[in-house]
């Protein structure tokens, strides 16, 4: 399997778990021209990112093409414990997807 497009880290401090994630994705806005061909690069972006904690969705991010290339997302939640599973998955407008799981540190 190819290397995951998602890098993430989850850290517990006090009772708050902070999750930070970076996704590798072109996030083309559909407005930029290919310099060689002069044609517009088609729109290609992540629509949805689902962030789960032990199988329950904590944050569901719905994005437009206005999110920067290689998106960064960070959020916090309460009720996490060390060793809990965080899973992050994304879906783009072309039907591409990827997911990644990690443990809270």
């Amino acid at each position: 399997m190819a290397k995951s497009t998602i890098r993430a880290r989850a850290r517990l401090k006090g009772d708050i778990t902070t999750v930070k994630t970076l996704i590798t994705h072109r996030m083309d806005s559909g407005r930029i021209k290919n310099k060689k061909t002069g044609k517009l690069i088609p729109i290609y972006f992540i629509k949805e990112v689902t962030c789960q904690h032990n199988g329950k969705t904590t944050v569901l991010a719905q994005w437009g093409p206005t999110i920067s290339k290689n998106p960064y997302l960070s959020y916090q939640f309460t009720g996490g414990a060390r060793g809990d599973t965080i899973s992050i998955s994304w879906l783009d407008n072309e039907g591409g997807k990827d997911s990644y799981s990690l443990k809270v540190k």
Partner: protein
């Protein structure tokens, strides 16, 4: 295949828009159901807000803070963090007012999620970032002006 799924999604999207228009569905329910296509296609901040949160009106709140640079040298990458001390937050939205497509992101928050999200957005030109927070069924907002030196949405 792609065309088929595109048709399907546009049909589903318009059916939802009709249902919202008729007052059959609460915006909250629609969010759980599908990616809010009409909001992300909206050309103005007002249209995006009314299609996503049911109304273009929102109460300015001092309990929302937007952390973003005053001057962004590169509009392609503008870090934005929204923090709120409001309770019962169900949604956080980020809108870049003068972008060709202003709606940038909508975050649906579970009850145990803190009122905090951080991401990076593209901005075409100097404009206000509007943070929308839906808490306890009410819509609150805050604004912050970001000066953009080089636009990041292509020309």
């Amino acid at each position: 295949m792609q065309r088929r799924s595109f048709l399907k999604s546009t049909l589903a999207g318009s059916a939802i828009a009709v249902a919202v228009g008729a007052g059959l569905l609460q915006p909250r329910m629609v969010l759980a159901a599908a990616w809010p296509k009409s909001a992300f296609k909206a050309k103005t901040a007002q249209d995006a807000m009314s299609s996503l949160y049911g109304s273009a009106a929102s109460m300015p709140s001092s309990e929302i803070t937007i952390k973003a640079p005053d001057i962004a040298e590169n509009g392609a990458v503008v870090p934005v963090a929204i923090h709120t001390t409001l309770s019962n937050v169900t949604n956080i939205g980020i809108i870049a007012e003068k972008n060709p497509l202003p709606m940038s992101a909508n975050f649906e928050m579970a009850p145990n999620a803190k009122g905090y999200v951080s991401t990076r957005i593209k901005m075409a030109k100097t404009s206000s970032i509007i943070a929308i927070v839906v808490a306890g069924g009410k819509t609150y907002s805050a604004r912050k002006e970001v000066k953009v030196t080089i636009g990041g949405c292509g020309g």
